[in-house]
């Protein structure tokens, strides 16, 4: 069973802008965002039966596009010219700066490359998707305490990298990172 072009077009009009916008935010460029949309909708075709059974198609597409983003981030990590790429990103203007929870999303993207896939997914859901801890934990499939631990590990590693690495990180990001540690300590106390 395969979707018709008309069915696909309806879904595309309904969801493609959401996926595009989200992946551009996470990956930081238009080209990757376009590719993420293509990948997500191609997988909708491949897994059409399963997709039709989903209560929230957008949540399913979020999972697919998260996997795509994780792969892109992983591949970037292995590129020889990544450091130059990231210097470029850091000095460029983030197109979402005004509406972002972060001072510098490019720096967060750089930090994501230090993480493993589960940590990346957690950071993506918390900070790019603006989910609560409970929502992010559900998306990743871990408990809230586990999510807190994984995030803590990520932040420690990121701080270490920022202290020892020579690349030009924005000073604002250092503030963000260091400031997050006390916030983490209050996780257990939050209702």
């Amino acid at each position: 069973m395969r979707p018709t072009d008309a069915e696909l077009q309806t879904l595309y009009a309904q969801y493609a802008p959401v996926i595009h916008r989200r992946c551009r935010s996470i990956l930081g460029n238009e080209e990757d965002a376009h590719d993420a949309v293509q990948e997500t909708f191609s997988r909708v075709i491949v897994h059409w039966e399963k997709f039709r059974g989903e209560s929230s198609p957008l949540t399913w597409m979020y999972r697919i596009s998260t996997n795509y983003c994780l792969n892109r981030i992983r591949n970037r990590r292995s590129r020889a010219d990544k450091r130059q790429v990231h210097r470029d990103e850091i000095v460029s203007t983030s197109f979402e700066r005004a509406g972002s929870l972060w001072e510098d999303e490019a720096t967060v993207r750089r930090l994501l490359e230090l993480a493993d896939d589960q940590e990346r997914a957690i950071v993506i859901h918390l900070f790019f998707d603006d989910m609560t801890r409970e929502q992010a934990a559900r998306m990743v499939g871990v408990s809230v305490p586990t999510l807190r631990k994984r995030l803590n590990i990520f932040l420690k590693r990121a701080r270490k990298a920022m202290e020892s690495d020579g690349f030009a990180l924005a000073a604002g990001a250092v503030v963000v990172l260091l400031s997050l540690l006390p916030l983490l300590l209050s996780f257990g106390e939050a209702p």
């Binding site: 309904q14 949540t59 020889a80 230090l114 400031s179």
Partner: protein, 285 residues
Amino acid sequence: MIDLDKLINPGDRPSRLEIGQAWSSEIDDTQARAIRDGAASQPASVAWLEGLDAARDEVAPFDPELLRKRAFRIREDEQREAELEAKREAQPRAAWWREFLSVTGAVAAATVAIVVLLPPVDRPTTREQHVTPHTTAGAKGSGAIDFYLLRDDQVHPGSEDEIHWAGDRVQFSYRTQGESTLVLLSVDGRGELNLYYPDVGDDPVPVVPGERHMLDGSIILDDAPDFELILAYFGHSSVAEVNDEVRAILDEEGREGLLLLAEDYMDVDSIFLHKGETSPAAGER
């Protein structure tokens, strides 16, 4: 300065997923209205909602042919991956370990022979100390890698002498004396660097000095043409340092420079895999 209270959503505003569900009319009007109301007082949420409107014009035009072609490739990849996984799981464990033990035994025997036959040599231990690069070729001892190959249902010790193809699955083993870390990467025929161990992060993977050990996991060769040069760096402190060195040598001296590097220095080993253009069994894969 960042407002820390807003860094992690405490539940006082809808997530961007929920905003997306409202925007795309996935949920009913009442729920959508509640989400929009919840977003209205949050500047970041309002900006996100406006961004979704703008994204209508930014997203690529709908092209069903393109999507179906890509879906076809994804389906093929998933099938191939499932078949390879099934083959790997179907491998008789005893046969694998017989292979492994026979190689390990041969290596141990060879090591004993070398130790007995060779007079003591003051080998350089660092790159700076290494003043006569070519004199130690063939007498490396600090770190070495080998590999096993899974192809057409068969697992066997790999060899640089045979031609390799896209789809071949390779698993590495290592042996090191004194070094406790490893970075393993490759340069392919397209000149691209691919990092395998570690798969993420800047810290090399820890390794156990002494006898031969298998590395967890395996890699599947892609369709990069001509060759895949695997490089193993033992005892280095960061992936970035290794990456920079490999890139610099590749740019200045090409792959021959990397091969010489692996020959000349005890802390680097390499495997050169010749890649065939078209597998004789391509039709079956």
